[in-house]
């Protein structure tokens, strides 16, 4: 077990290094490079820019710059926002909770709905439900999230008036119920694509589990179908889902960005877009790398969980 964990840990660290190299490359592609904030200042002469460059160490070889930057990253110095000067990590921290709330709720909804649809589709194979679920999943995968959000707003806010159109809470009313009221539509919209993905995988995984020998044995013993399903099949079918959850993290973040834009949800995605609009590159880069680190960590946690739960993995 510990050998497996060590192996995965080392792989994750290597991945983090590669992620940081890619991030550093993108950072240097930004217009004006790290000196972008001074580019627009009319009082700056070329000599001033050169002096700053030497001061900031920008004429050193790239790999030394990278090491210095990575070292500062590890110490928590991610730079300061161009907009208000606060540290990038603080800015990200302010918006992190909102995004996590949205992502968490929609993932929970997606898992619940996807599991049910997938299992039902597998047990009632080739029925109308199964066919509708399969085709529906493919269409749901193709629907642009922002369009679905706009349609949702049109139907549920403008026509029916059931839910508010955006933001996380109403000013003046910060109750939990109000938060939930604002949370429903965005998390439903965000979960659509993932319900589709989960239900397809769940269907395949359940079919795989149902074709195993232990199910035949259980049926021969006379165990009821329902008990077979609940006790033996679901657990085995859910195992690959854990790995899938880790792999889906980047796309959940992508969907979160678009959903937050449509619903003006004050999360990391909207922060990314706002900062991009303000040319606030430290925050942009910080978010880029932060999301990549989140993904790597998420995958690592998923692997640890599945190793804990599935003995075949750690003994392999």
């Amino acid at each position: 077990m510990s050998a497996f964990l060590l192996n995965r840990l080392i792989q994750s660290i290597v991945l983090l290094v590669i992620v940081s190299i890619i991030g550093f490359t993108v950072l240097n592609l930004m217009p004006g490079g790290p000196l972008a904030q001074f580019g627009l200042d009319p009082g700056m002469t070329q000599k001033d820019v050169e002096r700053l460059a030497t001061q900031l160490g920008l004429n050193r070889p790239l790999w030394i710059q990278y090491l210095d930057w990575a070292w500062r990253l590890m110490q928590g110095d991610w730079g300061h926002s161009f907009r208000d000067g606060s540290s990038v990590l603080a800015v990200i921290g302010r918006h992190l909770l909102a995004t996590l709330l949205l992502m968490g709720t929609s993932t929970a909804l997606a898992i619940a709905a996807g599991t049910w649809i997938g299992i039902r589709g597998a047990t009632h194979r080739y029925s109308l439900f199964d066919y509708c679920a399969t085709v529906g999943a493919m269409v749901a995968l193709s629907v642009p999230t922002f369009w679905f959000g706009l349609i949702g707003i049109y139907i549920f806010t403008l026509k029916l008036g059931w839910v508010p159109a955006g933001n996380m809470y109403t000013i003046g009313d910060g109750s939990v119920l109000d938060y939930l009221h604002h949370l429903i539509l965005p998390s439903l919209v965000l979960s659509l694509v993932h319900v589709a993905i989960w239900s397809r995988y769940m269907r395949t995984a359940t079919l795989d589990a149902l074709s195993q020998d232990f199910v035949k044995t259980a049926r021969a013993k006379g165990v009821s179908e329902r008990r077979i399903l609940l006790k033996h099949v679901i657990g085995n079918a859910l195992l690959p889902m854990i790995t899938l959850a880790g792999m889906q993290l980047p796309s959940i973040l992508t969907g979160a960005l678009v959903t937050e834009t449509v619903f003006t949800w004050p999360g990391m995605g909207r922060l990314f877009l706002d900062s991009l609009g303000y040319s606030d590159y430290p925050v942009v880069m910080g978010l880029l790398i932060f999301s990549a680190i989140l993904v790597v960590l998420g995958n690592l946690i998923a692997d640890i969980v599945i190793a804990t739960v599935d003995p075949r993995i750690r003994l392999a």
């Binding site: 590669i18 085709v135 629907v143 642009p144 049109y154 980047p250 992508t254 960005l257 942009v284 993904v295």
Partner: protein
């Protein structure tokens, strides 16, 4: 002596097993029909419709669908929505298709190299692929789009640069399994060069998964282009694209919902068709499902 049944007609590619299997996949055929319809509509539709896409008619602004000759209504400037939709379709479909070609090319090159060489080179390349895959695609695309000038060509390149990883993974896995086959060993024994083996021996046998991945890549590229155009960093107005039509429609959602519903429906139809086609191709080319 049992007689061996021979085919009456020689087997051409249109009679082949894969094509026959594809033809049995109803959804895939529907996808092909829809895409053909879309492409034809986008190509010749603007010439068949009575309005020009740039023709501004302020007296007819915000006309709902089916007003007079405006089959889909008009936009806030009085331009016919149907013509704009088809012109935008040209841009979106072209960008999606070209991005697919470029990303498949890059992904195949890297995948074949990594899969055949194996060892240190292969591992390094695959770790790099994993590194790229750790970034949410839209974050990378937006960051790159904000730095470079957003012309359609640039958008295509950016989308391709952030989409090649999936193809590379698939190709690498396929090449790795093909590497140990006898025909590769035979080719090595005969003394064929590494490049020849990689691209003239192994690659043609790996085409199946590549084609499936390519079809799904078009779907993803169209969707990605729509996303970044919606957010304002993709195709810039006045050049219409399905994504930036939706961006403009956001503020008029209450009064003119058709401005948002119709372009989004177009995107959904296009992407769904490519997904259906990709599914059908996967079933048709998947050797494991052979009942024979």
């Amino acid at each position: 002596m049992t007689a061996i049944v021979a085919h009456a007609a020689p087997i051409r590619w249109w009679n082949s097993r894969a094509v026959n299997r594809f033809m049995r996949h109803h959804l895939a055929l529907l996808g092909i029909a829809m895409i053909t319809l879309l492409v034809v509509a986008c190509a010749i539709g603007p010439y068949a419709l009575p309005y020009d896409s740039l023709q501004i008619d302020l007296r007819a602004r915000f006309a709902p669908p089916l007003t007079g000759q405006h089959y889909f209504g008009t936009d806030p400037l009085g331009r016919d929505l149907a013509v704009r939709l088809l012109m935008a379709g040209r841009v979106s479909l072209a960008v999606g298709f070209s991005a697919m070609l470029l990303s498949t090319l890059i992904g195949t090159l890297i995948g074949v190299t990594a899969g055949y060489r194996g060892g240190w080179v292969g591992a390094a390349l695959m770790r790099t692929v994993d590194g790229f895959l750790s970034y949410p695609s839209i974050f990378l695309v937006l960051a790159l789009a904000a730095t470079l000038r957003p012309s359609p060509v640039m958008i295509t390149v950016i989308i391709a640069v952030t989409s090649w990883m999936e193809t590379a993974r698939i190709v690498e896995a396929e090449v790795r399994s093909l590497r140990e086959r006898e025909f590769v060993q035979a080719a090595r024994m005969v003394g064929l060069s590494r490049a020849h083996i990689m691209f003239r021996e192994i690659l043609p046998n790996a085409m199946g998964p590549i084609i499936v991945a390519a079809s799904l890549a078009v779907a993803r590229a169209i969707l990605l282009e729509a996303y970044i155009s919606f957010l304002g960093y993709g195709i810039q107005p006045p050049l219409p694209s399905w994504g930036n039509m939706l961006n403009g429609a956001q503020q008029y959602l209450a009064s003119a919902p058709w401005l948002a519903i119709i372009p989004g429906a177009a995107i959904t139809i296009a992407v769904t068709s490519f997904n259906f086609i990709g599914d059908g191709l996967r079933d048709a080319l998947d050797v494991r499902n052979d009942h024979i």
